[in-house]
């Protein structure tokens, strides 16, 4: 099929994706409605990156990824080449686990990459396996993503049949099995050690640290690399074009492109492939080439810059570039590439409650401060919304947040206050608990009056009336 026509940037067969001007390193095939087939993939340069890798040594491939400063796209932004280097020499077997358990509120780019270009991801896995000396790769797809599972299963079947995966890949002695595994509904499984637990057939609860990296102790206790879908999807382009070409895009410390899902009160919400590190929030939210501004007649009130776990930003942060370091220094994180825009009609307490409710529901229950704390935060926010709030509730919320995440919580600078840089401290094994504190602290700092208005709204019942009622 010919490339499909985009209407206002949207393409009918890829809902949500916006084809705008700018380099397309990982979404270049999205315009084709058959982009997930091997035929289309091969006709558009597919598996050329794998061939390029096979013509050189594994160490050279690793060097190339290191030289590209390919940052992990799952949330932490850790350089993939450095992470790969943590594998202890000689402790075979190593495993590659692909994290396709995308569930962070506001985030969806891995789903599009899995649905629209599964072969690109598979090729990325192969390149990583070749570079690292891995013979087993597990591609873990979120349970609720039936179509992504369908496309990946079909693509793996095609790739095995065509000799790209399995024994003797492309006629060489490089052999690796890629097996699709999938989850069954648990946000916490996106945490890499919880993902490994799930892949071992257990409850998806994060493992105690240290060891901090599965590269030391991972799947079946063996050295394991866990990479995000988008990270691996960059490898085919990188192998064909080289790290110098890759570094032409984006900024010095954040090269290449990155996918951002920008949702909320926008005129053109969508998933955009954006030059990493150079585009600003301002351009992304208001630019004609991107989201084209807040919906008609309204103004920006606040936004979440990096998924549900990120502290919230406001209008004065629009000038920041989409780059991890400055966003972290300003008190939040770019996280998983999810930006949620809220306009002036949004109830700050309600919005914070909804994000907290998510974390309360998804807490795995392993660490007490998170298991109890997220639930309490949710209940107190709920009673404030229901008109049953108490004057002490604001301090109580902050105090409970401090039990999950002690010390100054990351917060954006405003009103002459200094920003507290990301990340927060935590009394928990993983960052889920501290993430629930983000919307609470962000909104109390900024919109304390909204909380107070809801709390004082309650009309106390005069005691004599209650007594009279009881007597009758």
């Amino acid at each position: 099929m010919d490339p499909q026509v985009a209407v206002n940037g949207y393409i009918a067969h890829a809902p949500g994706y916006v084809l705008n001007d700018g380099p397309k390193l990982i979404t270049s095939r999205f315009v084709h409605d058959d982009s997930f087939t091997l035929a289309r993939y091969e006709a558009t340069g597919g598996y050329e990156g794998l061939r390029a890798a096979l013509e050189t040594t594994p160490a050279t491939v690793h060097d190339e990824v290191r030289a590209a400063t390919l940052l992990g796209r799952g949330g932490a932004g850790f350089p993939a080449g450095v992470k790969w280097g943590f594998l202890p020499p000689g402790k075979h077997p190593y495993y590659l686990v692909v994290n396709g358990d995308e569930s962070e509120p506001g985030t969806y780019k891995d789903r599009l990459l899995m649905e629209r270009d599964p072969h690109q991801l598979i090729e990325g896995c192969l390149i990583a396996c070749y570079a690292l000396g891995l013979q087993q790769c597990f591609l873990y797809v979120r349970g609720e993503m039936a179509v992504a599972q369908e496309r990946i299963a079909a693509a793996l079947n095609e790739a095995y049949e065509a000799g790209y995966v399995g024994r003797g890949i492309c006629g060489t002695d490089f052999s690796v099995d890629i097996v699709m595994a999938w989850g069954a509904g648990a946000y916490i499984v996106g945490e890499e050690t919880a993902l490994i637990e799930s892949l071992e057939g257990r409850r998806g609860m994060p493992r105690l640290k240290p060891p901090y990296f599965p590269a030391a102790v991972g799947l079946y206790g063996q050295p394991t690399i866990v990479n995000n879908v988008e990270t691996l999807s960059n490898l085919p382009w990188l192998m064909v074009n080289g790290s110098d070409a890759y570094r032409q895009y984006g900024s010095e410390s954040s090269p290449g492109t990155r996918m951002f899902a920008v949702s909320g009160h926008l005129r053109r919400p969508g998933v955009y492939e954006v030059e990493h590190g150079v585009t600003t929030f301002q351009e992304l939210i208001y630019g004609d080439n991107f989201c084209q501004g807040i919906r008609d007649g309204h103004e920006l009130k606040m936004f979440i810059p990096g998924g549900g776990s990120a502290p919230w930003f406001f209008a004065e942060h629009l000038d920041l570039p989409l780059e991890a370091r400055p966003v972290g220094a300003a008190g939040s994180m770019l996280g998983s590439g999810a930006i949620v825009i809220m306009d002036d009609t949004t109830d700050a307490v309600k919005a914070a409650w909804r994000v907290v409710k998510f974390f309360a529901r998804e807490s795995c229950g392993k660490c007490t401060p998170c298991r109890e704390g997220t639930t309490w935060l949710e209940q107190i926010l709920r009673r404030i919304l229901d008109g049953d709030g108490r004057p002490s509730d604001i301090d109580l919320l902050l105090d409970m947040g401090d039990n999950i995440s002690p010390g100054p919580y990351p917060v954006a600078a405003h009103n002459g206050q200094e920003a507290v840089p990301f990340p927060p401290r935590q009394t928990t094994i993983c960052p889920l608990g501290p993430s629930a504190v983000a919307p609470v602290v962000s909104t109390i700092r900024r919109f304390r009056h909204e909380y107070e208005a809801k709390i004082t709204r309650r009309d106390p019942i005069p005691i004599e009336v209650a007594v009279a009622g009881a007597a009758s």
């Binding site: 509120p105 891995d110 369908e150 079947n157 969508g270 919005a351 994000v355």
Partner: protein
């Protein structure tokens, strides 16, 4: 019900792709749920025998994951997202409408056994808010009218959506001659040949 002979054969194949049988637990539970629409005690017991887990371990694991159900549900499960991006575009109102229109509480199943309504957490279609899934297939930018039409279509069997429990309609299958070979970790201590050939060791 225990797994059918055909599903048991499928289960054996899937177990063979993992270095440890227990890793196949979640995929096999999905297989059981696809067969029966929910997880029966006998299916869980059977799956446990296949992967070497006790019934308590199987149920304890399955219970952690929201998609596994221990009671029958509707032919179609509708998950309406109300998380932040959907909240901003009326996800809560859509859920209320859905409950009213179906005549069920959230979490309940219609009397005809066709539809179970659930409130979902973020399902990764945030720019298409408010969104929902029908048996994990997406529908975006849903109005109350759209919802009612969707329910009519589901009841009239006009949509190409498999029954609850069926996820991917394509199964991975690996031809025996193409399988590189799966062994437990303790039997794979050697560096792979292509690394040895290049005489390069991976190091930091």
């Amino acid at each position: 019900m225990t797994l059918s002979p055909a599903n048991e054969a499928l289960a054996a194949e899937i177990i063979g792709w993992f270095p440890r049988p227990r890793s196949a637990l979640i995929p096999l539970l999905h297989l059981a749920q696809e067969q029966d629409g929910y997880l029966t005690d006998s299916a869980m017991r059977h799956v446990g025998e296949l992967v070497g887990a006790t019934p308590a371990e199987v149920k304890g694991t399955a219970g952690f994951y929201e998609m596994f159900r221990f009671e029958p549900v509707g032919t179609y499960m509708i998950n309406v997202c109300t998380n932040i991006s959907c909240l901003l575009w009326g996800g809560e109102e859509l859920l209320h409408h859905a409950a009213e229109s179906l005549g069920v509480e959230v979490g309940g199943t219609t009397d005809d056994g066709m539809i179970t309504l659930e409130e979902a957490e973020c399902i990764a279609a945030c720019t298409e808010a408010p969104c929902l899934q029908v048996n994990y297939r997406y529908r975006g930018r849903i109005t109350p009218d759209d919802f009612d039409r969707l329910v009519e279509d589901l009841r009239a069997d006009r949509l190409d959506i498999p029954h609850h429990g069926a996820l991917s309609r394509v199964r991975q299958s690996i031809p025996a001659e193409r399988l590189a070979g799966v062994v437990p970790p303790e039997q794979a201590r050697e560096a792979p040949v292509w690394l040895a050939r290049n005489n390069v060791e991976v190091a930091g």
